[in-house]
Amino acid sequence: MNVSAVLSLGQTALELGLISSLTVLALFLSYSMLNVCDLSTDGCFTLGAAVGAVVAIAGHPYLAILAAMLAGMLSGCITALLQTKMGIDSLLAGIIVNTGLYSINIAVMGNSSLLNMNKTETVFTRAKELLAGTALAEQYRMLVALLAVALVVVFLSLFLRTRLGLAIRATGNNPDMVRSSSINPAFTTIVGLCISNAFTGLSGCLLAQSQKSVNIDIGTGMVTIALASLLIGNAFLGRGKIPVRAVGAVLGAFLFRLVYTIALRFHMPAFMLKLVSSVIVIIAIAGPYLKSRMPLLKRRLRHERGRGEPEC
């Protein structure tokens, strides 16, 4: 492989990594901060893509982004209401919303499971026009994604330092303590999930606009892919202050895409992506658990072996 091929591989990974890192940042808020595993992520991602595509096709590429985020926010709000006000388990609430969103997404896309945006103006085509003739003309896709990610990282870093942000972090850490600070944990959960799903919607919208099409499966498996990325990022930059950890989440998304892109180069079939992401999540979560069980396992082995002969 020559240098330019390697560079182009890196660039593809970077673009896709940046766009999907918005979903990773959403999970950073809901999973790492709020301690809610939001299983509506897949549907919400598709919702963002569908809503964004429909509005962009109608001729409003910028409004599409806002609309996708609002749609995500609404979906997050419903997931949160189900788990905080209606006694539905948080995992189940996510699954229910995810299932419901499938129908809604097809309805949004006008009874179709595929939308084509080949001739549609998107934020990316706008950026391309804007950058035409400059040195960065080829990088328009990455720049748009980078801008979105930077804005979200800065927002999260600032937001999680506010009183509301602290309350959201404490909700995942010790809800009792939130209550004794006269804050309703139901409220913080609702706000947290609204914001995180707005980012998921944004992520879906940008992916759809960058690849100029949406199909109903665009979000399938997104929650596992994003979780894998988040956990990879955690391994590198999991400690320290919020901005560092948020950057870690983005780094994780990039690394995940990089490994995946390289694997594709080595003739791994594209359909393996989801299996790979599942395995990564399993290793990242089960690994530390199994490691903590090791001493007991060794102890047991020693005990079994020592039986019959006196221990010395």
């Binding site: 009183r163 850490n173 939130v178 600070s181 006269s182 944990p185």
Partner: protein, 263 residues
């Protein structure tokens, strides 16, 4: 002033496990009063605290804090006026967040989008300094790194950073080692005195029940069976208390931990 009138609470009503945890209990605590509460295992001491702080809503009766009727108010709304410490020192603070962030959340200054200001930081440090635990130099460290005693002292600061109308201490030194317990108790005494807080404290230590505060009540089977203050209390010994209990409850006091503390 706390006015509790005829509250009752039965857990698992209508089943074989039905348990009357609070039985037509009434209690009035004046402003600035420090009441110690003792009683056998399962007498309803913690249940009383749960009722006051709103962990559950009582079946009947009413609870007033000054003029505010809190009977049906959810827990988080009552928390504005009521500070509470539990036996478990891990319950009152968020381990993954820094000392400063924990205090900021408890202080609740500024609006929802307010940040921790430099003045807040200084104020938090000034409050932690008298604890003599060096916490003021570790403001950025996660609370999870602190010892049980340090965490309980911090929780106490968090509960009193905005002086509450009522402070509930539920055996808050019972899970600490003796030295830490001593220290946390001394801090408690100082803060309650300085702020003139109205305070209820459950303890299993009969001696501190008599030494601390200005009034002692004894509970059994969800009722208050003995209530003593002033001069009458000043002359009491542990033996008197045990005698009183036997007379009022018709049985010997069977709080295991309490008896261990008697010798």
């Amino acid at each position: 002033m706390l006015t509790i009138s005829h509250i009752s609470k039965t857990f698992n009503p209508g089943t074989v496990n039905a348990k009357k945890a609070l039985d037509d209990l009434s209690l009035t605590v004046r402003d600035g009063e420090f009441v110690t509460i003792i009683g056998a295992n399962g007498a309803g001491k913690s249940t009383l605290f749960n009722a006051i702080s709103g962990s559950f809503i009582t079946d009947s009766g009413s609870i007033l804090l000054d003029d505010l009727d809190v009977t049906l108010l959810p827990e988080y709304k009552r928390a504005r006026q009521i500070g509470r410490l539990f036996q478990d020192p891990l319950r009152g603070s968020a381990p993954g967040m820094s000392i400063e962030e924990n205090l900021a959340l408890a202080a609740g200054r500024g609006g929802w989008l307010g940040h921790i200001s430099r003045a807040d930081r200084e104020d938090f440090r000034d409050r932690l300094r008298p604890l003599g635990m060096g916490l003021e130099d570790r403001m950025q460290q996660p609370v999870g790194l602190l010892s049980g005693g340090q965490r309980q002292a911090l929780t106490l600061m968090m509960a009193t950073v905005n002086p509450p109308k009522l402070l509930l201490l539920d055996e808050h030194t019972a899970a600490l080692d003796p030295a830490s317990a001593e220290k946390v108790l001394a801090i408690t005494r100082r803060i309650v005195e300085e702020e003139g807080l109205t305070c209820l404290m459950v303890t299993h230590n009969m001696q501190s029940a008599l030494d601390l505060g200005s009034r002692t009540i004894m509970m059994d089977r969800g009722r208050i069976i003995f209530d003593v203050a002033g001069e009458q209390r000043a002359g009491l010994t542990i033996t008197d208390l045990l005698e009183q209990f036997k007379r009022a409850a018709g049985k010997a006091l069977d709080n295991d931990r309490m008896l261990l503390g008697v010798e």
